[in-house]
Structure formats: C-alpha cells, structure tokens
C-alpha cells in the first residue's frame, strides 16, 4: 500500500513516474504518458489523507505549523544522513542519493524517518537541471577576478535538486521611529556663499502587515544563500504532496518555528522602519535616530521550496551555489584570483592617476 502511494506508478504501464519541472506534470519514464499531480493524487486519494488536508488549507483554512507524515507516506520515503555535515535528506523510493548536496560528501548513509513534520506547502520545481547549469555558467561570465581554472576544474554535474525547508511567517508590525532631517538652502551674498541648513526632528508611527516571510529552517543551508535567492512567487504554492518529490531530495528542517522567527522579525522591523522613513519627504537628508518596532506573528506554515544546489571544491575549499528552482536566480560566492586582483589594482591606479594628473594639472593647479 505504501509503495503504491509514494512510488507513483503509471496507470497505463505501471512504470515509475517522475515530476517534470517544465510541464509541472508527472511523466512515465517508460511509456512517456504524463499526468497532472492532482490526477494521480486522486487515484491515490484514499491513502493520501494529508494531501486532502492540505487541499483544504488551500481553500483558506489556517494551517498548523506542519502536520505529521502518514504511515503510508513515511513508508514510501527514504532518509539519508551525511556523516560529514549532518544533513538529513528525504527522498522517495525511486530517487537515489549518491552524495550530499551541501558538502559534496559521497558517503551518505541511509537512515530512518523520525520526528519530522510533514510540510504544509510546496512550490514545485520549474527550472530544469540544464537551465540551472546554464545559470551557473552564466554566473562565471564577466567576472574578471575569477581564477581561470575555476570554471573548468569544478564539477557541474554534481548539481542536485533539493526542496529546502522554510517557515513562512505571517505577521504584523507596529511602532514608531524618529528621524533627523535637514533642508539646505544656498545663495550668494556679496563675496560670500551662504549656506543655510535647517534641522528637523520627524516622528512617525505606523505599522505593516506581512504575508509569508520565508526563513529557511535548515542549519545546513547557509542563510545568506537562501535569503539571496529570494523572492519566491508564493502564488504558485501548492498543498504538499509527495507527488512532487520524485527526482529530488527534501531537506528536513532542524530549526523550529520559534527559533527561526527571529530572522523574520528583524526583516519585518527593517521594512517597517524603511516604510516610515519613506514618508519623511521634502528633505535633503534623512537619517534614523531611533526606532521602537514591535512584531506580532499571526501565523506560520511549513513549506518546501525548490533549490538547485551545487557544492564544489576548488583549492581545498568548498563553494556552494544555490539556484532558485522557481525563478532561476543564482547566488554563490566565487573565489578571487589574487594575481588578477593585484593587476586590476595596479591598472586602475595608473589610469586613475594619469586622468587625475591631466585634470588637476590642466585645470586646478
């Protein structure tokens, strides 16, 4: 029963179905038949009770912070543990994990699914592996400081599709902020240039509402990478179903909703101060003096968001690149060739000095 639910089989030939990010459908590897996920889910509806619950949530019900896997779902999932970085990855029975997508360690070991919550939502992969690789190659272009051998010596084929765990927070902020603003007026008075600077204290009070601020809930996933590949279009959120898993791995959250909320709170407060500052208009300069913003969570949900990950090693150092599996936005820090950096410094120093000498020697001195 379990296998019949999670290892979706083609209704026509009973071959394994895989999720195709281009069409958004489940495709049979043997007879090439394709099916809507809902179509397949409907076939397995009786066993997949949680898919039905999530569908109810899509109709407007408030979701709990994740629910629990059904016995049938859990039986159809495989768990891998990375002894190197501690990552715990979930995938369906048809997906074989050969190396850790975070650190590239090839010795990942099978384990048991335990204690993990079932996600409320998922955004299916839209970007294919080929497009993700193309995005990475594009990322290397127009980078004069990139070591020449870096792009040729690393392993593009190691790219992995991972559903990264995120908490999505709904919340409201309320608070006040004080800004120092100036108006500047200048005019000529005889032989003098007179500059008059008027100083103002501007106080603002107000609040904002937020819907689904994402915070990644895996300690293995660097926060900088996950923040930088935003935004996701949450209009494409779908109730979670294991039908989206074939071909990909799903990381298990290891930061609970209360702990991860701190980052959502900081971002909400930053936006609120920014929005209040934007109302201080008509001044030459505006700077924040103080702010007192309070944040209140009105809801949170657990979602899996698609990320292509490439972990590569170069000169004994790991480089992790992340591609937004929905929008194709790629982030990742690149190594810097010190020789090239020195050459650019010397070259621009010479250019700058010569231009400055021509300008200063001709006009100023």
């Amino acid at each position: 029963m379990a296998e019949s639910i999670t290892n979706y089989q083609c209704p026509a030939c009973t071959g394994p179905l895989r999720f195709d990010p281009v069409t958004g459908k489940l495709v049979c590897e043997y007879c090439s038949s394709s099916y809507d996920t809902s179509e397949i889910e409907a076939l397995y509806a009786q066993a997949d009770e949680h898919a039905a619950q999530a569908a109810q949530a899509a109709a407007g019900e408030t979701q709990p912070e994740g629910s629990h896997w059904s016995e049938a779902e859990a039986a159809g999932l495989k768990v891998y543990n990375c002894p190197s970085c501690g990552a715990e990855l979930i995938c369906d029975q048809t997906t074989a994990a050969t190396s850790c997508p975070y650190c590239g360690n090839p010795s990942i070991v099978p384990g048991e699914l335990s204690g993990a919550l079932r996600p409320d939502w998922v955004i299916p992969f839209k970007l294919t592996k080929e497009k993700a690789i193309a995005a990475l190659k594009e990322h290397y272009r127009k980078k004069p400081l990139l070591p020449k051998l870096f792009s040729s010596q690393n392993h593009l084929e190691e790219i992995k599709g991972v559903y990264a765990p995120f908490w999505l927070y709904d919340g409201e902020t309320e608070g006040s902020a004080t800004f120092h603003a100036t108006k500047v007026r200048s005019w000529n008075q005889g032989a003098y240039r007179v500059t008059e600077t008027s100083h103002f204290q501007c106080e603002r009070r107000g609040g904002l509402s937020f819907r689904r601020i994402p915070v990644d809930s895996s300690t293995k996933m660097p926060d900088e990478h996950m923040d930088a590949i935003e935004p996701y279009d949450f209009g494409e959120l779908q109730p979670f179903s294991t039908a989206f898993l074939p071909g990909y791995m799903a990381d298990k959250y290891d930061v609970d909703a209360a702990t991860a909320e701190e980052r959502a709170r900081k971002r909400a407060e930053g936006s609120t101060v920014g929005a209040l500052e934007a109302t201080v208009k008509g001044y030459a300069t505006v700077s924040k003096e103080s702010a007192d913003i309070s944040y209140r969570r009105t809801g949170s949900q657990y979602a899996l968001l698609p990320v292509w990950l490439l972990s590569t090693k170069w000169n004994e150092k790991n480089y992790l690149f992340a591609v937004n599996g929905q929008t194709g936005k790629l982030v990742g820090d690149l190594p810097i060739d010190k020789g090239r950096l020195a050459a650019w410094f010397c070259g621009s120093f010479l250019v700058g000095a010569v231009i400055a000498a021509l300008v200063l020697g001709t006009i100023v001195f």
């Binding site: 007179v194 500059t195 103002f200 936006s271 000498a357 020697g361 001709t362 001195f365």
Partner: protein, 261 residues
Amino acid sequence: MKKRLASLALLLILCLLLALPVMADSARELPLVCDASGILTEEQAEELNAKAEAYSRQYSCDIIVVVVDDTDFYDVETFTEGVYNKYNFGWGSDRSGVILLLSMEERDYDLAAYGFGNTAFTDFGKDQLMKDVKPYLRKNDWYGGFSKYLDLCADYLRRARDGKPVDRGLFRLSAPVVIWSLVAGAIFALIVTAVLKARMKSAVLQTRADDYLSGDLRLEYADDRFLRKDVVRVRRNEGSGGGRGGTSIRSSGFSHHSGKF
C-alpha cells in the same frame, strides 16, 4: 579718491628717495616697488626695485608692487586702478603693466593688469601666480613674496611673448598635482577593486521583507518639528578671477584678481 591719493603721494616721499631714475620710455612718477607702509628695509626695497626695473625693461611691461596701510573708503580694485593711472605706470604707448597692491590693514590684495599685461596675466594665470605668492605673504615674508612675484611675472611675460601665456588648458605638473594624482589613483583603484570583489559575492542576508508586504503602511502619526538653523558663510573663490580661460577685461582696460592674504 583725490584726497586719498594726495595723502598716498605724501607717504610715498620715502619711496621716491629710494627710486631709481625714471626710465625714458616710461612716464611713471613712482618707483616700481613702492612700500608706503614700511614693511621692507631700504636695502630690500632697492634690491627689489632694481630687479623689477630689469624685468620691466626686458619684457617692455611694468612690473609694479605697491604697499599701503589701507584703501580708505575705496575697494581695493578701484584703488589699484587709481594708483596705476595717477602715477602714470605702464610701459610704452599701451601702458603695459601688472601691479600687485597690498592693503595692510585689511590684508587685502589686488593683482591688476593693463595693456599687454592683460595678455600675459590671464584670469587663470593671475590665480596661479597668487597661489604661489600668497604663502609668503601669509607668513609676512614680504621680501620673499615680492621677489617670487617679480620672478613669476618675468616668467609669465616670457611665456606670453612666446605666444603661450599661462592659461587654463595648459598642463602644469607640479608637486601638488603629483601628490593628489597619486591619491586619486589609489582611491580609484580601491573603488574599482571593491566593485569587482563585490561582484564575486552574491550571497548576502536580507534585512527587509518588502517582497512579502500585505497592504500599505498604516501611518497613524506624523510630526515634523523644526529644531534649529545653521548658517555658514564661505568667501567665494579667494580671488575674483577665474572662468573658462582668457582674461576678463573691464571697460577701464584693467583686469583684476583680488582677495585676502
């Protein structure tokens, strides 16, 4: 003005005593270096006057220094023109000359040119010349300042005679140019490399959540309070000269560059 010039004439008796014989091709009534405030010793005045005479003769253009206590009710530029005209300064039929007048009480100066002096001493040239002379005057090194002034005037006149007066657009590689160019080059290089390095780092934490706003800001209170007003007065261009190049000549035939020293 007439009264003031009369009193000036009295003050200049001492200068007349120090003066060399007036040259036949110049009808001037005062020596070229005329110190009515007594800031130079007799020997210094004689030496500077001889130097001024030599340069003036060589380039057919009077190079004049006049020092007075004050300019009374007149602005320094009007006063300088009055002195130049009253005492018949200027070489040849076009009365070519350049005059540096110092008013010691207000520490005002005016560098004025006339005739061929307007060709040799452009607005930019006057500005440059005073940049080199003022450091001496600020230190009350009158002899050093006037000596530098005479030498620079001779150099400017030589360049003008060769058809290349000191003017905007003429490249001049001085020590300050070299130093500031090196500083500018280093700053430019730091900016370029910082930009290139920033392009290598794309993974950064977000500090705002603007993409996830639901609705607009609920602004409940807004109050702007005036705190204070600061007023800063800065003297415009120490010298009154400047511009895009060439010489700004007034209807009186003089061009000026004035300011404080």
